[in-house]
Amino acid sequence: MSRKAILWILYALATAVAVGVVAMWMVVGGDRGMLPVGATTDAHHQIDMACETCHAAPAFADAATARKAMNETCRNCHEDELRAADDSHSRKKFRDPRMAVYQSRLDARLCTTCHVEHRPEITRAGAVTIAMDFCAACHAEGDQDVRKARPSHADLTFDTCASAGCHNYHDNRALYEDFLARNVGQPWLAPAPTHEPSARHRARRPLGEAAIGRSGAVAPAAALADPTALDHWAGSGHAAAGVNCAGCHAPTAAPGASRAEVEARWTGMPDTGVCKDCHAAQAKTFARSRHGMRGHPLIAAPRDPERRLEAIGLGGGLGKAVAVWFADPPRPPRMTVAEARLPMRADAAHESLDCDTCHQPHAVDIEQAAVEACASCHDDRHTRAYFGGAHHALWRAELAGEVPPGAGVSCATCHMVKIERRGEIVTSHNQNDNLRPNEKMIRSVCLDCHGLGFAIDALADADLVAGNFDGIPAIHVESIEWAARRAAADRDTTFIPPP
């Protein structure tokens, strides 16, 4: 065989092997870091190597099947959130055959019509990947033409709908017209500004009868010899609620177990799974947050190369031998500060995010977790400006007992919504739940202390938000006046309750 022929055969083999390796990475397992066509959005970068979470369709599925599977994944994770927001443009609305004409312009039944991953160039605020004047698709002609239906909108352009603080596509709970009209003319600050859910949360006290004192601690002698840990626990909510050392360090021991049994089942460094046993609601919401989404139950697990090889007819010994080369790289189970895309403190880069990142293991000091824990990692202007601002002053005053519970504003007050469940106030650990668009925060937080008009203006003023509301809004959103004027004009037919 000539040298040329040998070289061509070697080249063809090398090409086939290279393509084969890439195909194996995709279908069987291995590091796929080289494959994405672009960076994932800020919302999903934490899980960008769990590709099957979104790319849920089988390999080589047709485009329609792949799109359907992907949109199903979107709904699996975000549907509850959209339902809670009373989605203004729900999927159900667009499945009506009468909406067919709008579907042809913008298929609002599919999340991926407006939100496409891996396209950083066209990704705008809210992970929207179509032009921000997309409202024009349906609201620029016919009965839906807002410029004709509302004289106030006659000179407005469609790129201002969602960017001026007036509308959101999904969540308009604080922005819909009737609500605006009902809340017109409110003072900027309530006479006794208190965040009601926070007040109830702080006011709750564990049952006194269940409380355990320092002397009631049941633990091995070596553990009891640590006075700091013991003091912290004795002063914590855990001790007050009757959770003894074994509750976390020997979770398999029966309640009220003897010291010997506790010693036998003792774990010096329990994992955070024990927290989740009791704080299921917090754990569930944490897994939906950007801090904890790597622990979300719907995130695809690393692939099993042996099973996948078997599925393509490469089982047995050969499959086992090949599988060794195509294992998915281990994924860090927790998000780390170093991976964050927001400005973070360099000295916190090593921190990984789980319960014990914000909550000290024994003290369980929720006051510390509500502010200091956040600022120990976040290092953006908004966070830095909090300290010394009006909200921080109120928080300090609340901690000092100078103002009633709930009057102080911590980071958690705004970013970790309090949810009422079966009469219990639970802190949502999904920090993103009411973060973007920031108007989501109005009803759950701002309106407890501020008037609607002031809250809308403040949240529309990006500089004021960045400066942590240290000042007054430089922007005025007119939507509330427009809604009031329209309501007044329709007063004969519409009942507007007094503010």
Binding site: S2, V22, M26, M34, L35, P36, F60, A131, A136
Partner: protein
């Protein structure tokens, strides 16, 4: 006495036994012409405007010459010099070169060196034993060009052959051959050979000059222009800012071009098709039937035109976006192929201009080699790109 073919081989072979970076067309024509001249000097053939005929079919004793002599003698239909030059340069040049080199080895002028590795045993080169024979011929030719002495008739014929093939500047890089032009013309007019032989040699020389010009100069200017424009278009992909997707809602063609899956497939497969067509043009260039019909110029023109079309299709597919990860690797590779291909096109089609600018032939072949090297990873990257697109 060495034959023209042997002297030509020595002149166009470097010290390592590799061919000098002359145009392949020119070398093949020169070799065919050299053999015919040898046969003419040996009074075995004669030419007239209609046919090249064998006057004496007695073998000369030189395998390369006898092979060609037998071939011409065996042809029943008479064919003119032009057709024989074309046929010999396309079909027989490689065999003639091999026989000439083997003869030189047998005489102890060249030696055979095999490749270093066992599987490269066929990588055989034949450098001169002491590097001198080629230089000696070169010095002799230079001496004739720079003196007013009456030269040897064979030297005159060899110079005329080298000049007809336009390889003198490649054999003597850095020398101003144009200054020797009056002397070359003077040598041509010298009546040193017998009339019969002189007529045949002049006919061969004239035919070779036409063949070389036809094969290498056809469409040269437009191919050069296409190469330059193609190179600029490819460079623009690297240097120009990406064309943004319109920030207005509504189906605009630019948005569809760079966002819509169907449009992306159209532009992508157009690019793939053009790339295949470009490769086919190169293969056609090497195909004997095309070469025999003088299709080199067409193929080269097509290759340059397809290169330019590839750059435009790449813009349609990407809008000057370089992509990320595997796509970035594919873009890097594809742009390298286009830019180096354009440079290679410029070096081939603008050879005479580059020569005047003092760019040596050795330097001129660099873009061509890099262009070919850059092509190697392209199929793997393209297939991986298709897999990623269709699997995810």
């Amino acid at each position: 006495m060495p034959t023209f073919a042997e002297e030509l081989t020595l002149l166009l072979t470097n010290e390592d036994g590799a061919l000098l970076p002359v145009q392949k067309d020119a070398f093949e024509c020169a070799l065919a012409g050299a053999v015919l001249m040898d046969l003419a000097f040996a009074r075995r053939i004669d030419t007239d405007p209609r046919a090249l005929t064998v006057t004496d079919d007695t073998p000369t004793g030189d395998p390369a010459l006898d092979r060609v002599l037998a071939k011409i003698a065996a042809r029943t239909e008479p064919e003119d010099t032009r057709k024989w030059i074309r046929e010999l340069s396309v079909d027989d040049a490689a065999a003639i070169r091999e026989q000439v080199s083997a003869g030189l080895v047998a005489r102890g002028v060249l030696e055979t060196r095999d490749g270093k590795f066992p599987w490269m045993q066929r990588s055989r080169r034949r450098p001169a034993l002491d590097g001198e024979p080629g230089k000696r011929v070169g010095r002799r030719i230079e001496g004739v060009l720079h003196s007013n002495d009456v030269p040897d008739p064979r030297d005159v014929a060899l110079i005329a052959l080298l000049d007809a093939c336009d390889v003198l500047p490649d054999i003597f890089p850095g020398r101003d051959i144009e200054r020797c032009r009056p002397r070359i013309e003077q040598l041509r007019k010298m009546d040193l050979i017998g009339r019969e032989v002189a007529g045949a040699v002049a006919d061969i020389e004239r035919t070779i000059a036409l063949a070389v010009r036809f094969r290498s100069a056809r469409f040269r200017e437009i191919s050069l222009l296409l190469s330059i424009v193609g190179g600029l278009a490819a460079a623009a992909t690297l240097l120009a800012p990406r064309v943004p997707v319109p920030d207005r809602f509504g189906p605009t063609w630019l948005e569809q071009l760079w966002s819509d899956g169907t449009w992306q497939q159209w532009s992508g497969y157009t690019l793939l098709g053009l790339s295949g067509a470009g490769l086919s043009a190169v293969l056609l260039m090497r195909a004997r039937p095309v070469a025999r019909r003088g299709g080199h110029g067409w193929s080269r023109l097509a290759h340059a035109g397809i290169g330019l079309a590839c750059a435009l299709a790449l813009f349609a597919h990407t809008g000057f976006r370089l992509g990320a990860n595997l796509n970035a690797a594919l873009m890097g590779c594809y742009l390298a192929v286009l830019v180096l291909g354009a440079l290679a096109g410029i070096s081939v089609n603008g050879a005479s201009r580059l020569r005047r600018m003092g760019i040596t032939p050795r330097l001129r072949v660099v873009p061509m080699r890099l262009h070919v090297i850059a092509l190697y990873p392209l199929p793997a990257l393209l297939m991986a790109h298709l897999l990623v697109v269709y699997l995810y």
